[in-house]
Symmetry: C2
Subunit: 130 residues, 2 copies
DNA sequence: TATGAACCTTCCCGCAACTGGAAGGTCAAC
DNA sequence: GTTGACCTTCCAGTTGCGGGAAGGTTCATA
């Protein structure tokens, strides 16, 4: 199957699929005309990539997950530890964003938002220790 | 003052300060030896940038904020609207990450994390509609 | 049979916001 | 005079693609 259909079936843009090939995540066959030819297992991998990227795994993490997926003798603990690391990373990001939210909300509430030039937001950014 | 001291006082790496100059955010004087020479107002701007970047504003947003900061006739409403837009963007990111967290936590809990190869995480990534 | 659209190919540039490193100039101390 | 810590510019790399050029292939239609 050509890349266009692979794109439709996997939910990934053709550009992305070519990129994944570039960085060695997938290796489709080539037809006599030079076109990429995707087999069912390739589509499977592409969908796997689409989902794991959607879950916030980096491409390198996806590479690890894909390797574990193809290694029938791997322990589920190996996969779990990657997922747990990602989980705590997500937690950290949520914490950081929440703090940011508080600070910014405080500033927004303090600002009158009128036609006058005095603005607590700029004052805070400029003067104090945020 | 040289870039090293400007770096210490602003909390920004020298590389970043040079980059901000490259993209036109600051324009320090130059000494006879070609060294950048930072005045107090430059340090002020750099700290402003350091804080607003830390609050999650993009460099382009920082450029706007800096322009508003320097424009004594601007209305505080202009600043407030930028901050409010950023606030809802942060909210959106938090929501997305929270959803992600739920999905991933569900998978992690479902996985035994032992020496056996069966792993619900990989099964989910591979088979179903995440 | 021609031709036009819709595919496909490779290649290279660009994004954000820096970071690292190479090659070289300057300055202050010993 | 020489060491070492500064400073300079420039170039390349990062992440994960997207845009677009220049060209080949395939298929339907006039």
């Amino acid at each position: 199957m050509n890349i266009g259909e692979a794109s439709e079936r996997s939910g990934l843009p053709s550009k992305t699929i070519r990129y994944y090939e570039d960085i060695g995540l997938i290796r489709p066959e080539r037809g006599g005309n030079g076109y990429r030819d995707y087999a069912a297992t390739d589509i499977h991998k592409l969908r796997f990539l689409q989902r794991s990227r959607g879950l916030g795994f980096s491409v390198e993490e996806c590479r690890q997950l894909l390797a574990l997926y193809e290694d029938k003798s791997r322990a589920s603990a190996d996969v779990k530890s990657i997922a747990e690391a990602k989980l705590s990373e997500i937690d950290r990001k949520i914490r950081e964003l929440t703090e940011l939210r508080h600070t910014l909300e405080h500033l927004v509430h303090a600002c009158h938002g009128n036609e006058r030039p005095d603005c607590p937001i700029l004052e805070e950014l400029s003067d104090s220790a945020a």
